[in-house]
Amino acid sequence: MSERRPARLAALVLGVLAASGCGVKTAGLDVRYPEVGVNRALLAAAPPRRVEMLPVVDRRADTRRIGTREGGDIVTSRPVTDIVGEALLLELKKNGQIGTADRKDVVLAAAVEEFRLDVVGAYSSTQYVGRVVLAVTLADPRSGETLLIRRYVGISRRVVDKDSDNGWRDVMDVALARTMHDFATDPELASVMTRRLTAFNP
């Protein structure tokens, strides 16, 4: 009887792993913003500035999940604020802006207002709508004066066959990428950055 216990234990572990992995299809969605896809854009037209990026704030109404699917919560594998913060840093660096905490020219504060995946079930297909709303504020580090407030909204919509289990997984990646591209190509943002005097060259 005792020889059977290891086999039962292994079966139990397998069962738990299956449930915590993809058995529950909504667990730990890995939303990504790959560095290889990041380009120099309009933001690179502004001279390099020393930017202090404050930790990204989560201002979503529901911070426990990004959506629900088949009765289960859809959650991200990493905190939403980390995902967005890393994407912003990648854009700033690729566009020649310097992330720093000292002798800064400008302070960038970002807040995630929405990061959600809506699922609309039809008869034989399902529509997924990913939405990222990011509020960005630029402020003067010395006076604290607000220089610019912008909201970037990235939405991605996709219809997948009911039988497909993977066609929806990168909808949030696309929504995030669109938000970041709008950020990097915003002429007002580039203009404010251009007007900032550098700490080195006042």
Binding site: V13, C22, G23, R32, V36, Y123, V129, R169, D170, V174
Partner: protein, 242 residues
């Protein structure tokens, strides 16, 4: 037990691999075009189809329930596809009726022109180009000779779509748009992109169908947003790979 550990680890690894998003978003088709200074933006493509897409699960769901009651029937194999066809037919007719009403409210509004104008305005606002011109018709030989690139903008589909499961009667405007930038003399395509653009707002479909001014304003906002989105992707691709 020791022998089972590798199997457990392999299973765990495989189950986690499946949880990553399937692939990163595809990169737009583009090559660097930093030297493009004079651009003509022109509406292109055929007619734009207006659609009202509600993704209603009914009456198909009800048909499925009925089929479950008569699961003993030898005709199940035939009835199920027939039920799917009837479901599609009924919804197509309902949505086509609403689309026809909406189209009558939006007469005179050219989605391609609104999107193309918005693309031109967005590109111009960057100050990156010496000249951005929007023209309604195909550019003349002389205009082509002067331009470094021609951006063609098409809107195959636009309309209203349901974006949330719980809110019946509330839809969002959408426009599926395509853009292509090519060099006039060689025809070399410098950039190509498709975008599904959805309004962040939801609006009551009944108001949309009955209030002409409201409908037009809503769709103009969506189309202008589509133009900005397309232009932003073009700008983002300008130095691709550099």
């Amino acid at each position: 037990m020791v022998r089972t550990i590798p199997a457990v680890l392999a299973f765990a690894a495989l189950s986690l691999v499946g949880c990553a998003s399937s692939s990163p978003p595809s990169r737009p088709t583009a090559r660097p075009f930093d030297d493009v200074r004079r651009v003509i933006v022109v509406p292109s493509g055929g007619e734009s189809a207006f659609a009202v897409v509600e993704y209603s699960p009914e009456p198909g769901r009800t048909f499925d329930e009925i089929l479950k009651w008569i699961s003993w029937s030898p005709y199940q194999a035939v009835l199920r596809p027939a039920a799917q066809l009837v479901h599609r037919g009924i919804n197509w007719a309902l949505e086509a009726d609403r689309a026809a009403t909406a189209t009558s409210r939006l007469q005179g509004l050219s989605p391609r022109s609104v999107v193309a104008e918005s693309v031109a305005r967005t590109l111009e606002a960057t100050g990156w180009f010496d000249e951005i011109r929007f023209v309604e018709r195909e550019p003349s030989v002389e205009e082509r000779r002067r331009a470094d690139a021609i951006v063609r903008v098409a809107v195959p589909t636009w309309g209203l779509v349901r974006v949330r499961d719980v809110e019946a009667g509330l839809l969002s405007g959408f426009a599926d748009v395509r853009g292509q930038m090519a060099m006039p003399r060689t025809g070399v395509v410098l950039w190509e992109e498709s975008q599904d653009v959805t309004s962040p707002e939801q609006i009551p479909v009944e108001t949309f169908l009955h209030d002409r001014d409201f409908a037009r304003q809503e769709m103009i906002v969506v189309l202008e947003r589509a133009g900005q989105r397309l232009a932003n992707e073009l700008l983002y691709s300008r130095s691709a790979g550099r």
